[in-house]
Amino acid sequence: MIAEAPAIAAAPPREAYRPFAAFVYRFKQNRLAVGGTLVIGFFFLLSFVFWLFSVQGFQWPYDPAATEVSAQLLPPSIEHWLGTDQLGRDVFSRMMHGARVSLMVGFVAVGISLTIGILVGAVAGFFGGWVDNLLMRFVDVVISFPSFFLILTVVALLSPSFWNVMVVIGLTGWTGTARFVRAEFLSIKERDYVQSARALGAGHRRIIFRHMLPNSLAPVLVSATLGVAGAILTEAGLSFLGFGVQPPTATWGNILTEGRLYIFDAWWLTVFPGLAILTTVLAFNLFGEGLRDALDPRLKG
């Protein structure tokens, strides 16, 4: 042992392996993912700026709630970049404020489902046996509900408020994460490093949170970003059926939904919010995919 030590010291100094820098390097290689990140950043910036506007009472270019009888269903023009709706409200202003709602729905819902999913998956995968069996049967129950119909029913019965929509989407979306984490834990559990940690006397909590969770985080992060995308789509779908975040609060989903009644007369009411949803969801999906490739190069497609 002692005799070996000088040999190691004598070895030429190696450049330290910095995992984060390596991750950033790999992520940057993926142009689609970088594009997605920029789009997400852009929408974040927009919704922050327009949130500041609304807090300051500064309405630009128009008050999103101001109706104007003489300006109903105007096509896009210099004054109204994306046209006006059936009440003469400026679609561009409404969409800018809607960005904030869509992003919030996505993040809060995913925050809720991640928390539940990680806990359930980790406990089930780590302890196995009857705990695993019980939790997974519960997952079976939740996963066997066609989630969209479940969300629709609950939101409709609870009355569709902003918070209800987010919480219900979050409460139904955790099963995927739970299964990922569990599967990951099951495969990691028997790995040498976990066995050695156990042999060294590490407790359950330490093994789960210090050794196993960081090593199974890649699929969780990926499913979280994809979850944000899914939650935004779900809110849009709920809006479409009349149970999303309710008007007059502008969301991309309800602008689109109100607009579909005028689809043959005012295409801009349907096309633009749809494109906004598509772009945002696409950005999150590309970001998530890039994240996965960069976090775990073995999975790179």
Partner: protein, 319 residues
């Protein structure tokens, strides 16, 4: 195998029980009465009480649950809305939804698998990049938006009727034209319903195929000097297809959720639209029963996936 299926069916009983309790609790604990929707404030309280008695709404929740279960078993469960047996209402709607979803599933698998395989075998080619981009757009698009965009194009551009399961008023035509009309009405909703599925399944297939390519047995087969195509399809594809079977189970809830929206847009007389209408009118017995039926479909789908998995992969012991 038979034993396995039997055991799985028995195991699914508690799951179904859990689903029924959970959905019963959620629906009944939500604020508001189902009578509120159809009630006129001028209706005297006596009549309201009478209605509550008729619908068993005056009983305790566990008692209501028991009655629901009993009525469901005897086929005597009646809709709050029109008093018709729920089973009848659902059964007349179920075939339309099953056809729609079956066609969508066939479209998904027959397009996504070749697409994914081609993408993986021609990795980083133009075709691969294009497929990838289309897959991402397909996953990211709200299906109802796509539906409206297509409606805008088809109705405005081509003037073709698309709503319903057949063209309204079209009766005096031959069997062939009638069938063609029905197929056309089936075409658009099932295509839209399958877009997201094609997109995600082709990605899975591509990933699975690439994963298999890295396996030692592929290297071995190539090292032995077997022709590329034989290795790719006989050794690679067969193994790459296995994880795809599990996707089948995941697909069903997504499809059913999608049908709620698609059926509402296309006025498709299926169970998704019935579900939406029941939610609107707070028709508890119908909502509950649809919940149960879709849950049973999901469980059967998963069971089928597991059985198929056991068939194609002998390493997975069916136990």
């Amino acid at each position: 195998m038979f034993q396995f299926i039997l055991r799985r069916l028995i195991q699914s009983i508690p799951v179904l029980f859990g689903i029924s309790v959970l959905s019963f609790a959620m629906i009944h604990l939500a604020p508001g009465s189902p009578l509120g929707v159809l009630m006129d404030p001028k209706v005297p309280p006596k009549v309201v009480e009478q209605w509550e008695r008729n619908f068993n709404l005056d009983k305790s929740l566990p008692a209501q649950y028991g009655l629901w279960l009993k009525n469901l078993a005897t086929g005597d469960l009646r809709s709050f809305k029109d008093g018709r047996p729920v089973i009848d209402k659902i059964m007349e709607r179920l075939p339309a939804t099953l056809i729609l979803n079956l066609v969508a599933t066939i479209i998904i698998f027959s397009i996504a698998i070749p697409l994914g395989v081609y993408s993986a075998t021609h990795r980083y080619s133009l075709a691969d990049h294009t497929t990838t981009l289309f897959a991402f757009v397909g996953i990211s698009m709200p299906s109802f938006w796509l539906a409206y965009m297509l409606i805008l194009l088809i109705v405005q551009g081509l003037g073709l009727p698309i709503l319903g399961s057949r063209t309204f008023g079209l009766t005096e035509v031959g069997a062939v034209a009638g069938l063609a009309d029905r197929l056309w009405h089936l075409f658009l909703p099932s295509v839209i319903l399958s877009v997201a599925g094609i997109a995600s399944l082709s990605r899975y297939m591509r990933g699975s195929m690439l994963e298999v390519t890295r396996q030692d047995y592929i290297t071995t087969a190539l090292a032995k000097g077997l022709p590329d195509d034989e290795v790719r399809y006989r050794h690679g594809l067969r193994n790459a297809l296995m994880p795809i079977i599990t996707i089948f189970g995941f697909l069903i809830p997504t499809l059913i959720g999608g049908s709620v929206i698609i059926e509402s847009i296309f006025a498709w007389p299926g169970i998704g639209r019935l579900a939406y209408q029941s939610v609107l009118s707070r028709d508890y017995p119908t909502i509950m029963t649809i919940n149960m039926i879709t849950a049973i479909l999901v469980i059967l789908g998963n069971l089928m996936a597991d059985v198929l998995y056991g068939v194609v992969d002998p390493r997975v012991k069916v136990k």
